[in-house]
């Protein structure tokens, strides 16, 4: 691919995919930080554009996830339940736009916020970010089957209305994620 073609393709991706990456970022970081996450994600992409798989959306969201992880690590904390709820509330459609009662909307978001992170991520990558299960699995660095298990568990937990169940430790299936010797 020539430099000109690469630049044009990257520009198209920026216009097409940056809003999707921003949506992903908005549910993880404060509004003030969303632009930074998007910019850093695409800067990584530009530096590796010749090896970024096409279409790039799964790669971009996966990279945004890493950028956000660094961001949160730099702040030395993970988001608490209340903070997660605030972020989800800010990014989700309004009750009117979604055709829901405001109380139902908030109840759904509360249950969503209370899910274990890995289940919520798996669920929303598909339900909100519009990724295919394969793409979502790529983002999370897991197998598609593992992703399906997580989304299944998430849906099951969501329907356990008013449940006070605690979520036990999860098994993470990793095929030598590090791969380094």
């Amino acid at each position: 691919m020539s430099t000109t073609e690469g630049t044009a393709e990257f520009t198209r991706s920026w216009e097409r995919d940056a809003p999707r990456v921003a949506v992903y970022a908005r549910r993880h970081v404060a509004t003030d930080d969303v632009h930074d996450v998007v910019a850093e994600t695409f800067l990584h992409a530009w530096r590796r554009w010749d090896v970024v798989p096409q279409p790039p959306i799964a790669w971009l969201v996966g990279t945004a996830r890493n950028v956000i992880a660094n961001h949160l690590r730099a702040k030395g904390r993970r988001s608490a339940l209340y903070e997660r709820l605030v972020l989800l509330d800010a990014v989700a459609l309004s009750a009117a736009d979604a055709g829901l009662l405001a109380t139902d909307r908030m109840a759904a978001l509360e249950r969503l916020a209370a899910l274990p992170e890995e289940q919520r991520e798996a669920l929303l990558l598909v339900a909100w970010d519009g990724l295919t299960p394969d793409q979502a699995a790529t983002v999370l660095g897991i197998r598609t089957g593992t992703l399906r298990v997580r989304t299944h568990r998430a849906r099951k937990a969501l329907e356990s209305a008013g449940s006070n169940e605690s979520f036990g430790p999860m098994t993470v299936e990793v095929l030598n994620e590090g791969g380094i010797r």
């Binding site: 921003a22 530096r47 996966g62 699995a137 329907e159 993470v172 791969g179 380094i180």
Partner: protein
């Protein structure tokens, strides 16, 4: 009846076009960066059965120990090497901020020598590592055949053949390996409270201590020669399960 999941799907946020001025300016800033495909950081290791080839030396991305040897103890040697790496232009070590002191993840004897793995983070969230595989006690970092180090970069992506994943967390490092040194496992617990790593799989049922500083663990596990994969369960000091991770040995 509407399920909660249905409600959540209806709440899916609609992507909004980026703010035009920010979008234009940011794109211009990014494109002003030289993508430099020939010199930019590249994936610098691959899964391999050959330890000496575990890291791919892509230009200046993976350095050898030449100037790093003979400077104090192993931690200092590692730190000097990583600092040198971080100051080398066009590597994955650039822009990581201040390097924190390296911590020993694991050190154990294998069939052919001593395997040592160090990790160091940086003030900007970078992840660096150094590994030594030599016939000595594992602290000498003898020569380039036995010592490799780097920062950041990309990991072999387990879900996409030939793909890579960005290294951003120390607990991404490690794995279960079966090669010329015999089966071995090492890694870093993602759970800070974990004190033991229980390794289970065909032929192996072993508990390894987790270091309190690096949260690292590792050992040769020759009894796992018939295992394709092992599961590591992380336990706290009360014996409670914190979580687990399944490592599958790379093939090829």
């Amino acid at each position: 009846m509407t399920t909660t999941y249905d409600q959540i799907t209806r709440l899916a946020p609609a992507p909004e076009a980026s703010e035009p001025t920010w979008s234009r300016d940011t794109l211009a800033t990014i494109l002003a960066e030289d993508p430099a495909p020939e010199t930019s950081p590249r994936p610098w290791w691959r899964k391999t059965r050959r330890r000496a080839a575990a890291l791919i030396a892509a230009g200046a991305v993976a350095l050898t120990a030449g100037t790093a040897v003979a400077v104090g103890g192993p931690a200092e040697v590692v730190k000097d090497a990583l600092l040198e790496f971080m100051s080398t232009p066009n590597t994955t070590g650039n822009g990581l901020g201040v390097l924190h002191d390296p911590q020993l993840v694991a050190k154990f004897r294998t069939k052919n020598g001593v395997f040592v793995f160090w990790v160091a983070t940086s003030s900007k969230g970078g992840v660096c590592f150094a590994s030594s595989n030599g016939p000595g006690e594992g602290t000498e970092l003898l020569d380039k055949k036995h010592f490799a180090y780097g920062c950041g970069g990309e990991l072999v992506d387990p879900t996409a053949p030939g793909g890579t994943a960005e290294l951003t967390r120390v607990d991404q490092l490690g794995g279960f390996f079966k090669d010329s040194d015999g089966p071995l496992i090492y890694g870093i617990s993602p759970y800070p409270d974990a004190v033991q790593a229980h390794v289970q799989g065909p032929g192996v049922d072993r508990t390894l201590p987790i270091r309190s500083d690096s949260h690292g663990y590792g050992d040769a596990i020759p009894e796992a020669s018939g295992a394709r994969a092992v599961t590591v369960t992380f336990l706290d000091d009360a014996g409670h399960v914190l979580g687990s991770k399944r490592w599958v040995a790379p093939v090829g």
